[in-house]
């Protein structure tokens, strides 16, 4: 478990940096796929097997395919890659400083916080039946609200991407 955690942590951080640093968006998508796979393995170590499946199916299977389609659609004529150091010359340094400050704050807070040792969860923890039982009884309202959010997203996408004339 410990070895698996550190392997997955290294893969997660490496591919995360690759997603952010690569010039071509397609390379970022490939890095993101590996990132999501490693996260699914981490979900398995946290005895969340249903979430691991959903991570692979929804994220790597649906969302990243959507990203790939949009990249393929937009790079027919020319490539929407970043144009190097453009008008915002001093963008990189403050951004990295802000990210490092946020990481330091979060790490200090986490290290200082008290955490109880993890007790062994019940045997059906994270399995599909217990997950579905929780989702459809205790968290039924959140489930219904999510369905409404998806409906709004569908309508919004059809309104925006399906229209012919859009003025800018």
């Amino acid at each position: 478990m410990l070895v698996l955690y550190w392997i997955c942590a290294a893969v997660l951080v490496f591919t995360g940096v690759a997603v952010v640093a690569s010039r071509q968006p397609v390379h970022s998508v490939v890095g993101l796929i590996v990132n999501f796979a490693a996260l699914a393995v981490l979900f398995l170590t946290l005895s969340a097997e249903f979430l691991a499946m959903m991570q692979i199916i929804i994220y790597a299977g649906a969302i990243l395919v959507l990203f790939l389609f949009v990249i393929a659609l937009l790079t027919i004529g020319n490539q929407p890659v970043d144009r190097g150091e453009g008008r915002l010359v001093f963008q990189t340094v403050p951004s990295v400083v802000a990210g490092a400050a946020a990481l330091a704050l979060m790490a200090i807070g986490v290290r200082a916080a008290w955490a109880s040792t993890a007790a062994a969860p019940p045997s059906d923890f994270g399995t599909v039946p217990s997950f579905g039982q929780q989702l459809l009884t205790t968290h039924l309202f959140a489930f219904e609200a999510t369905a409404f959010i998806l409906l709004v997203a569908i309508i919004g996408v059809v309104l925006m991407a399906g229209r012919k004339e859009v003025r800018f």
């Binding site: 955690y5 970022s28 994220y59 949009v70 144009r83 997950f131 997203a153 996408v157």
Partner: protein, 102 residues
């Protein structure tokens, strides 16, 4: 089988969140910025799952599921906006999309 402490999972989630934050601030390609946002969603999901395992409460896992759904809706909406902008401009750079500037 030695257990990984909770703080290690949360620290890893914090590192992933910081990577996504830096990526969102540095890059100007909206698709890459969206992928940085996905990294940050996933960092939050990892923290939720770790806390759920630590406290033996399935609510954290259910919330991860709902976050994944909302992230899917967000990605679809944002990519539709990118496609819509790209139809009228040859390039997609977030600095050029300043129509809503007051």
């Amino acid at each position: 089988m030695p257990q990984v402490p909770l703080t290690d999972y949360i620290t890893l989630a914090a590192a992933l969140f910081a990577i996504g934050l830096v990526g969102f601030l540095v890059r100007r390609n909206p698709i890459t910025m969206l992928m940085a946002i996905e990294l940050m969603w996933n960092a939050g999901n990892l923290a939720f799952a770790a806390f759920a395992r630590n406290f033996g409460d399935m609510s954290g896992q259910v919330f991860v599921f709902i976050v994944i759904t909302v992230a899917a809706a967000e990605a679809a909406i944002a990519l539709a906006i990118v496609v819509m902008v790209f139809r009228h401009r040859a390039e997609v750079d977030v600095d050029d999309i300043s129509i809503m500037k007051g």
